[in-house]
Amino acid sequence: MKLALKLAAAFTVALVLGAGSAILLIRSGGLGGDVAVGPWETDLTIGSVQADPYTRARVAVAGLLALNRNETIYFTAGRDDEGDRLRISCSYKVIGSDPPARWWSITLYGEDHYLVPNPQNRYSVGGETVQRNEDGSFVISVGPEESNMNWIPTGDGQNGDTFTLTLRLYNPGEKAARDPGGISLPQIAKEACAS
């Protein structure tokens, strides 16, 4: 009887340790990976049959139904150029020029990986809608207050105090497909934070 109780307790501890550590690892993993361009990260096996079990599990949580790299490359940023977490109370400038792809977009997501509610119903800026400067470059404002035409609101915090940006490159150009770590992507510069 005593041995049976010991075995049951050991089994329970092993179950909690094993399953708990796995879920913790999967949920904290996000969509980052081994390719980084400034604050943007990606894992090139996302959506592909080459994905390892951990990547599959991470994608199931944070990017279910993602396309493989030949069709779309997903870069995600959870930090700015200085390495600080992206916060809804701060304002940022996303500065760059069109990345090498047939079509691109930058979308803001809350901590729960869903779109963030805002009165304007604005969630993204993309290659079809971005207002460009004369030289083709663009500046996208991300923050609680509208500051230019290319504005993505950070919302009122219903989805958490931090957020992530996802840059989608649909039909990436040859250079992006061959060497995604070697392409130029927009900077994310923090401007100010509400006290």
């Binding site: 399953a19 796995a22 959506g47 994905a51 139904l65 977009s105």
Partner: protein, 173 residues
Amino acid sequence: MKTWPLWIAGVIAVAAVFHILTVLAFPYGVMNRAIAGIAVQAGGVNKVVYPDLPTAEARGIVRPSPDLLYAACVYDVSDRPVKLSSPVPDTYWSLSTFAANTDNFFVVNDREVRSKRIEIILAANEDAVSEPGVPLIVAPSERGIVLFRSLVPSNEAVAEIDTLRKQANCEPL
């Protein structure tokens, strides 16, 4: 003799097994939930659902793109093959299929189709009944998800693209 080192080693070994099993099972669990959600919205398997442009209210699938109109169905090739068909709009468009473990095992976009319409047959194996001239794709799992994506370049284009995407279809042969 002290037995606690053996107990600790045993707990660690069993915990490692549970860890691996959880990681392996996790994608299937999430995918099963997504499959169930789409099937309920569509009224069953091999039937298409046409959701509105994603907003903050959309809570079905994580990280939806607010720039795309989606159409989705749950394919089930356990009994017979499933025919996927859709008109192809003059904008970025793709048809993608996802297995029960989340793998994107097939994708084709508007530029690759080079036609105004696409037809694909999904089947459990290469010997399945097919139609002449229609490409056959072998699905690695009996059930999974088919997703049609259409880029909406402007608000003015919504109605036209919506009309086309609502012609996307999944039907058993």
